[in-house]
Amino acid sequence: MPAAGGGRAGPGPLRQRGTRRLQGTPPASPLSPRPPAGRRAALGLVTLLSFASRFHRLPEPPHVCWDETHFGKMGSYYINRTFFFDVHPPLGKMLIGLAGYLSGYDGTFPFQKPGDRYEQHNYMGMRGFCAFLGSCLVPFAYLTVLELSKSLPAALLTAFILIFDTGCITLSQYILLDPILMFFLMGAVLSMVKCNSCADRPFSASWWLWLSLTGVNLAGAMGVKFVGLFVVLLVGLNTINDLWDLLGNLNLSLVTFGKHFLARVLCLILLPLTLYMAMFAVHFAVLNKSGPGDGFFSSAFQSQLIGNNLHNVSIPEQDGYPLSCHCDPYPGGLCRGEGIYTYLHKDLNNLWIIKKHDSDADSSSPVEFVRHGDIIRLEHKETSRNLHSHQHEAPLTRKHFQVTGYGINGTGDSNDFWRIEVVGRRAGRLIKVLRSKIRLTHVATGCILGSSGKTLPKWGWEQVEVTCTPYVKETPNSLWNFEDHINPKLPNISLDVLKPSFVEILLESHMVMIRGNSGLKPKDNEVTSKPWHWPINYQGLRFSGVNETDYRVYLLGNPVVWWLNLFTIGLYLLIAISTAVALKRGVQLTSEHKGELSRVVLCGGGQVALGWLLHYLPFFMMGRVLYFHHYFPAMLFSSMLTGITWDTLLKFFSQFLSPSTTARRVYEGGIVALILLIVYSFYLFHPLSYGMIGPMASDPSSPMAGLRWMDSWEF
């Protein structure tokens, strides 16, 4: 890639010296702008170090650590093919499951709680897979920085930061989604950067390769966690910028521009979308047995799962009087008698009989179908009381009306009348099981039956409150559907006709995931991690062990690395602003400086800084529970920024020194000093990742004594 070779004849030899000094590789020809051998050796070295650091003591500790209990369990679900629900998309867990399957894990370990011993179960395949992906981050970051800054010391600095960061090591060593997410994320960034550097040869094979790889990685990142959306945003902004430049290039005809545009649509939108849908297709194809996730989904979906009591059953399709049915708030819970609560599990108390408001149907009369707009009574089958509401406050939601069971043997009063309405239908239409979403309006007060989502105290068996809301709003809380349906006079149908299409399943699962994510609210008085804690490495996460006798692993970034990163962000801001102002004011600079500054600092550094912002700022606006490990994607960008910034800074200032040998020495010395600092700090803090046994840091005999620099660190 000889693209920008000419302008950098000056720093060329300087870089080679750096290479030789650091790597001991033989110097390449001083005339060649790129020493491929040295770079390859450097790449090999960082890759080797990265793998060594991640795989070192990988089997330790041989028990379930932290969130392994979730993701390991979900991996087992894939192996056992039982349906479950998680707030994240399926790719990460499928890959874990696949790794376990290939390495001979049989899916029998229950992963009940952190600290459970693995015993004879083979967990190394899954951990090894995650560690492998986590190790790839370092070469990816190295190549990205090399491409952005064209400077080997910058790339090496970044690589060493990531290799010797205790946090990155710890996070890569367990069965978690984060290494998988970060692998795809860095993969996408690297492919994007590579593709940008191929911009002078559009539509060449390597251009196509990197463009489609970007798309594949985007799909991967999105498929592991929704946080992948941020990298999609980063690539999207980069693409828009790219297209805007192409549009401004009058040498390109509109047809060529159209080709560029279509190529990006194909590779960055259609390809990832297809892959993303394919993941879900595989997910639903693999998980075909009923499991713990059924209740989160609609009844129609549940009828597809082997072992669910809706599977392969046949029930009458249209509802007639009298009938019994489950009524089920869409989607989620079931209702239960006497005090009316929604109940998340199915039992006999969930059955109700539908009657006309003015007459009791006897068994001899012909079947009459319930239609949209009919006024009905609902009699609870077990206790023969009618579903009733009146203008009393509901127990928890004071602004809503109370719902009770009323009357004896089905005789009640006019407050038992409900109008049944199907969402999106006209009056007089028949009501169908499972598919019709219905709303029950109380005739006397005009309120709508809904579940408020609040859990009742002990006296209500900790079930969910049911109220009648006077605020006539369209919310899923007030929609119900008929699930079980018993009517001997009606022909039964098989639920196969209700089979939802793939697109419906996909949309439904996304609705459920989004609701699940926003439902992860911190409880009152619970101390949670705040986004501002993260860059200052304020508090880590206990992966394993609490007491002195335990094998303790503590997820905490290498403080030296993290504080260097934090400081560098401020430094970068300063440099970027002064560079931008200097360029805007037309300060006299040599053209070489100008090119270097604008290309590396503003362009390269800007991309990375944008990545950091996109992966960090949105957390300030999130209402859900946040954890320290959410910062690691942003930390990757921050580390790359550190490499680029220090390299530029040292290079720039050393050039004012004379003679040039001093300059070179200062530049190289600075980088080496930084790397040595990082390595030494890693030597100090490595027990955080590789395990600590024995007294806590407050004890002077502990290996970590004196290293607890902040009181908030718990080791």
């Binding site: 805007w244 549009l247 401004g248 602004k399 006077p470 605020y471 805007k584």
Partner: protein, 630 residues
């Protein structure tokens, strides 16, 4: 010496009659019949409480916003001689004779009326024609929702006034920039920008959005100045400092001064004392000061004290004990120590008193000279009434099994030893006043709406209903204006994109200066709409239609801009121009018609049931129709 007499003394006055006429019309539309209805309308019930508290000088904290708006409303009450004696408890309650309704509602109405000339001026400063400016002013004049919101004791019209004033002053300042930097007028408008911004923020935090927008625009303009090589570095620094002073330092100072005035005015203790620190409460007349007056500053051994939990969440409470003991077994089967209960009690009580005792000494009396308790000392706390020691031990607490139980130690002569030594640690940070006032916390309200409902005006708010006649007042916009404002925004966006893409390919459809006008108008109007609207999608608080009004104002300003642009640049021939004008006239008469149609619910004129039913143009509108015959 008397040379100046040689020239005649001439006064040349230039009066823009259309501006004067608009202002008069605005005043008429907003001020006419201001004291009707003589009843509490909607959120007046909320703001009225604060006005009363100001009149009585009783301390309060409003968690929903800064104090300037309340103070301005109170100013109206002060001028009208309001004594603050009215019970604000119910919407629709009749005002008693001592409430000066007219003067309470005067300031918001005046602010609402002045928005009309401001809108006119803004369009002129954006270099659009007087015809467009007239159009903008008329549209604001005939906007029913703005009229309704202005005519009551509410804050939105004041907020919109300050927002528009800030925008206008910035535009005036920017237009003076090229020719007369650092002139008197330049300084005046720059300062006024900062002042208006801080007032807007001081009325409601929503003003922050417009402030940020203006800061961003000022930053952008300064960035362009940086590229101007004719300016020296020194003058650039001067420009930068002037802007920093006027747009950052002064607003912050003004904002703080609002709070200073607020605290200076309210010196009596009141219902919200408890959310402040004890030290602050002691400074209020009639509050904690009455108790603490003349009490020693430092705690010594032997002192009698009460201990208040600093957080005050969920309620303030004092460490308390009484003779009752913990139950031997809790409901869930866990055991307790059966010692004397220690609780946190939200009321002042004689059982809240404790005595500080030195563990090394037997007697409780204060020694002479008193020995003060210091940070790190170990003390015992003796409950004053029951003379038992505060104790904790390894028994699970009643509700939080992970914590230890705290009790007052009764010597049962069993193996459980007394662990009643406590170390005093002084916390350096003073307790942060947490404002927690519950009245609006529930996110559900009969008239709450989601941000998406606002653009299509799918929702309304019934402000007031006459108890017998059908007269009612609704916050309901001019349907025609809202729809055209949306269309204008869409047209603006599409045209801008089209121009941008074409300009990128070096095809210039409109002259460069017209393009610059188009862009700067968009920055203000579309930018103002975006920053005042989109943040609501991220908010979790209860949203009401009136939150949209600032955004709507900016969107309305966009209509004449788009219309003038269309007529100037897209209607090429004379014929199409005149046809376009005819269309505009027709459209404007429909705006007038919509205004006329909905003005009964804007001004609260009595209507029959049939008329009310006719007004219900959308099913989602909540027009109150009395059921007849029941």
């Amino acid at each position: 010496m008397l040379g100046f007499l040689k020239n005649p003394v001439v006064v040349t006055a230039e009066i823009n009659l259309s501006l004067v006429a608009l202002t008069v019309m605005g005043l008429m539309s907003r001020l006419w019949g201001l004291s009707y209805p003589r009843a509490v309308v909607f959120d007046e019930v909320y703001y009225g409480q604060f006005v009363s508290l100001y009149m009585k000088r009783i301390f309060f904290v409003d968690d929903s916003g800064p104090p300037l708006g309340h103070m301005l409303l109170a100013l109206g009450g002060y001028l009208g001689g309001f004594d603050g004696n009215f019970l604000w408890n119910r919407i629709g309650a009749e005002y008693s004779m001592n409430v000066p309704v007219c003067s309470l509602r005067f300031l918001p109405a005046l602010a609402g009326a002045l928005c009309i000339p401001l809108a006119y001026q803004i369009l002129v400063e954006l270099h659009f024609s007087h015809c467009a400016a007239l159009g903008a002013a008329l549209l604001i004049l005939l906007e029913n929702s703005l009229i309704t919101q202005s005519r009551f004791m509410l804050l939105e019209s004041i907020l919109i006034f300050f927002i528009l004033l800030a925008v206008l002053s910035y535009l005036k300042f920017y237009n003076l920039q090229r020719h007369s930097s650092f002139s008197g007028r330049w300084c005046f408008w720059l300062l006024l920008t900062g002042v208006a911004c801080s007032c807007a923020v001081g009325v409601k935090y929503m003003g922050l959005f417009t402030y940020m927008l203006l800061l961003a625009i000022a930053g952008l303009h300064f960035w362009h100045m940086l590229g101007d090589r004719t300016l020296s570095n020194v003058s650039l620094v001067c420009h930068f400092l002037a802007r920093g002073l006027a747009l950052l330092v002064i607003p912050v100072a003004m904002y703080l001064s609002f709070f200073y005035v607020h605290l200076a005015l309210l010196y009596r203790s009141g219902p919200h004392d408890q959310i402040m620190t004890s030290a602050f409460q002691a400074s209020l007349e009639g509050g904690l000061a009455r108790i603490t007056q003349g009490q020693p500053l430092e705690v010594a051994y032997g002192s009698q004290i009460t201990l208040r939990n600093v957080l005050g969440k969920p309620m303030q409470c004092w460490l308390h004990s009484h003779t009752n003991t913990y139950p031997i077994r809790y409901e869930n089967g866990r055991g307790s120590s059966h010692q004397q209960q220690v609780t946190c009690y939200p009321f002042k009580d004689v059982n809240n008193w404790w005595i500080v005792k030195d563990p090394g000494m037997q007697q409780l009396v204060v020694s002479n000279p008193p020995r003060p308790v210091r940070h790190g000392h170990i003390v015992q706390l003796v409950h004053g009434i029951t003379t038992r020691y505060l104790n904790t031990h390894d028994v699970a607490a009643p509700l939080s099994p992970h914590s230890q139980e705290v009790s007052c130690y009764i010597d049962y002569n069993i193996s459980m030893p007394a662990q009643n030594l406590w170390r005093v640690k002084k916390s350096e940070s003073a307790g942060r006043p947490v404002s927690i006032l519950p009245p609006r916390s529930d996110t559900e309200h009969k008239y709450s709406s989601s941000a998406l409902d606002w653009i299509t005006m799918d929702t309304n708010i019934a402000y007031w209903l006459h108890p017998t006649s059908g007269a009612q007042i609704h916050l309901l916009g001019n349907v025609c204006t809202w729809a055209s404002a949306n269309v204008a925004a869409v047209v603006y966006t599409c045209l801008s994109l089209w121009y941008l893409i074409r300009r990128r390919r070096k095809i210039y459809d409109i002259p460069e200066d017209a393009w610059q006008l188009w862009v700067s108008a968009g920055q203000i109007c579309v930018g103002g709409w975006v920053v005042n609207y989109l943040p609501f999608f991220l908010m979790e608080k209860t949203l009401f239609l009136y939150h949209y009004l600032p955004a709507l104002t900016f969107q309305i300003l966009l209509i004449p801009i788009v219309l003038q642009h269309l007529s100037d640049h897209l209607c090429r021939s004379l014929l199409s121009k005149s046809m376009f004008s005819a269309l505009v006239v027709a459209w404007f008469s429909s705006v007038c018609f919509a205004y006329r149609t909905f003005s009964p619910v804007t001004y609260g004129e009595p209507l029959s049931v049939a008329e009310l039913k006719d007004l219900r143009w959308k099913d989602s509108w909540n027009i109150l129709i009395r059921k007849q015959g029941r």
